[in-house]
C-alpha cells in the first residue's frame, strides 16, 4: 500500500499522523510545493519578524523520521490520472498511489485593480510571501493592505506595532466582516484607527499608481482619494488549488473539491481535506469551504483513518469559528454572525468583568437555541459557547443562561465538539 498526500500543511500532516496512529506502517509520501513545515496562521508574525522559520514549525522536532514519511519538498503536482492511480509532477515525473489525499489548500487571490500587477505587491499565504515582506520592510514606510479579514487585520496590527504607517482598505463597512456584526465591527474599526492604523472601510481600491520604474506610489480609491504607499499586500480572499485536477472527473465547484462526510471525493480512493475542500456547513446548511486550522486538522485526521480502512465521519463540519487577538483585544466569533437568520433575535450585552475589562457579548438566539455569538474581551468560556452552538444544545433557562455560560454549567457530562 502506498499512501500519497499532496500538501504539507495542517490537513496533509494530520492525515499522515492519523495513518500512523491507525497502526499502518505502509509507505507514506508527502508531495509539497513548500520547502519546510510552517503554520500558515503565523505568517503575519513572520512577515513582521516577530517569529523565525524555526518557531513557525508546528510539528514536533524530528517528526519526518519519527513518522517515517517520505517527503518531496519544492515539488509541484501538475496532473492526475485516477484510472492509472498516477499523479504527475513538474518535469513529468509519475508517482503511483493506492490511496491519495489532496490537501493542496488555497492561494491568495489578487483582486482586479488597475496596476496591481507589479513590484512590491504581495499576498500573504506562503512562507515565501512572508519572507518577501520581511525582507523589503526596512526600505518601506507606508504599507497598504487590501482586505480587512483575519489576515489583513492581524498583519496591520503587526506592522503598525513595528512603526510602519499602515493603511487598510476594505469593501465592507467594517473590518472582519465575516467575524463581526455592525456594532462590534465599528468598535474594531475604532480600535484599529486609535492604534494609528488608517482605516478605509466601505471603500474600494480602483487603481495603483506606480513610478516609471514600476515602484508603487499611491493607491487611488473609487472616491478619488489617494493614499501614498510603498508596499501593497493583498488579503482579499483565496482561491482553491484545483487546476491540476482538470479533466480528472473529481467533482469540484468554484470553491473547491466536493467531499462527503468520510472526506472522500467523487472517486472513492481519492480523499481530500483542508482549505481545498467544500462540504455542507452544519451551521449555515450550505456547501462551502471551512477554511480554518482546526477543521483542516480534523478533516486530515478523519481522512487518514478512512484511508487505512477505518470508518469515521465528520459530524460537525463548520468553518464558522474564529479566534483573534487584535491589538490586545481577545475576540471570538462563532456561527454565521455575518449572515444571521432574520428570525434570530439579537442581544448585545456590555459589562465590566471582575478584572475591570470592558467586555461584550453579542448573542443570536431563536426560540430554543443559541445560534451564533461574538465574545469580545473575556473569551475564557468561549469553548463552552462553541459546544452549545455546534451541538445545538437545549439551554435549560435559555436566555439567562446564554449570557453567562461557563464550564461548570453542564457538570461532569462528557462533551465533544469534534
Amino acid at each position: 500500500m502506498h499512501f500519497v498526500i499532496v500538501g504539507s500543511s495542517a490537513a496533509g500532516t494530520a492525515a499522515a499522523r492519523s495513518i500512523r496512529k491507525s497502526g499502518s506502517s505502509d509507505k507514506i509520501t508527502i508531495i509539497t510545493e513548500d520547502s519546510e513545515f510552517f503554520s500558515r496562521c503565523q505568517l503575519h508574525l513572520l512577515a513582521s519578524g516577530r517569529r523565525t522559520h524555526e518557531q513557525a514549525n508546528f510539528l514536533p522536532e524530528g517528526w519526518i523520521d519519527s513518522a517515517d514519511v517520505n517527503i518531496l519538498w519544492d515539488t509541484r503536482v501538475t496532473g492526475i490520472a485516477p484510472g492509472k492511480h498516477t499523479i504527475y509532477t513538474e518535469g513529468d515525473s509519475e508517482i503511483k498511489y493506492n490511496r491519495l489525499l489532496i490537501a493542496t489548500g488555497s492561494r491568495s487571490w489578487c483582486p482586479p485593480i488597475e496596476g496591481i500587477e507589479g513590484e512590491f505587491t504581495f499576498g500573504l499565504r506562503n512562507m515565501c510571501d512572508a519572507d518577501k515582506i520581511f525582507s523589503v520592510l526596512p526600505f518601506m514606510q507606508s504599507v497598504t493592505i487590501i482586505g480587512a479579514g483575519l489576515v489583513g487585520c492581524e498583519l496591520a496590527a503587526e506592522l503598525s506595532a513595528i512603526g510602519k504607517t499602515v493603511n487598510v482598505i476594505e469593501l465592507a463597512p467594517y473590518p472582519l466582516p465575516m467575524q463581526l456584526e455592525e456594532s462590534t465591527g465599528k468598535r474594531c474599526s475604532e480600535l484599529m484607527q486609535k492604534s494609528g492604523i488608517n482605516m478605509y472601510c466601505g471603500k474600494k481600491a480602483s487603481k495603483i499608481k506606480r513610478s516609471a520604474d514600476g515602484i508603487p506610489k499611491a493607491v487611488i480609491l473609487d472616491n478619488g482619494e489617494s493614499i501614498d504607499t510603498d508596499l501593497i499586500v493583498t488579503a482579499a480572499g483565496v482561491r482553491p488549488n484545483i487546476e491540476w485536477l482538470e479533466g480528472s472527473e473529481i467533482s469540484t465547484d468554484k470553491k473547491g473539491i466536493l467531499i462527503n462526510e468520510y472526506c472522500q471525493t467523487s472517486i472513492p480512493d481519492i480523499f481530500a481535506a483542508g482549505d481545498v475542500t467544500v462540504m455542507e456547513d452544519i451551521l449555515l446548511r450550505s456547501v462551502m469551504p471551512s477554511p480554518i486550522w482546526p477543521t483542516a486538522i480534523h478533516q486530515g485526521r478523519i481522512a487518514g483513518i478512512n484511508m487505512t480502512g477505518g470508518h469515521e465521519s465528520l459530524t460537525r463540519n463548520t468553518g464558522f469559528r474564529s479566534s483573534v487577538r487584535l491589538l490586545g483585544n481577545n475576540i471570538v466569533s462563532l456561527g454565521p454572525v455575518s449572515r444571521p437568520d432574520p428570525a434570530w433575535e439579537k442581544q448585545e450585552i456590555k459589562y465590566t468583568n471582575s478584572r475591570g475589562q470592558t467586555c461584550i457579548k453579542v448573542l443570536y438566539m431563536d426560540d430554543e437555541h443559541l445560534r451564533a455569538a461574538i465574545l469580545w474581551g473575556d473569551i475564557t468560556d468561549a469553548g463552552v459557547y462553541t459546544d452549545v452552538i455546534i451541538n445545538n444544545r437545549d439551554l435549560p433557562a435559555k436566555r439567562e443562561l446564554a449570557t453567562s455560560l461557563d464550564g461548570a454549567k453542564f457538570g461532569k457530562e462528557e462533551r465533544d465538539i469534534l
Binding site: Q42, L45, H298, R321, A408, L418
Partner: protein, 161 residues
Amino acid sequence: MKKKVINLSKCIGCKNCELACIEAHTEGGKVAAYLAGVQNSVRSRTKVELDNNGKRFPQFCRHCDEPACVEACMSGALQKQDDGLVICDTEKCVGCYMCVMSCPYGNARPSMGDKKIMIKCDACTDKDCMACADVCPTGCITVVEGDKAIEYIEEEKPCIL
C-alpha cells in the same frame, strides 16, 4: 500514572484548589502577585462554579482522548503526550486562543499578565505535589494510581464540615 479523583459530593466551594493552583504556577510561589495586589497577573487553571442545578462543580482539565484544544493548536504547542496528559509548551504557544475557543469544558484559558499564552492544567508534572489535591480540606480531590488522568465520582453522602 497519577489520577485525580474528584468526589463531587464533597466539594464545599472553598476555592482552596484555585489558590493552590495559582501559587503552584506563580514564579516565586507564595501567591506573590496576590499579596502585592496585582490580581490581574495571575489566574488559576481550575475553577469552582455552580452547575445548572445549582450544585458546586470544580472544573478540571479532562486530558481528553481526542482533545479539541490540540486539534485547534496552530503552533504545535499543545500535544497529547504518550502518558495521556495534554501539555502546553509555553515557549511554542503564540496565544492565538483557538484552544480557548475549542475546549468544550472551558478549561483552556487565556493567561493574564504580559505573556499572552494559553494556560491549562499540567497535572503538576514538574512538581512533587498535585497542588489542588494537596490543599483540598474535604477530600473532594484525591490522587490515586490509575490509567487515566482524571475521574469525577459522586458519593451518596455529602461531606459536612
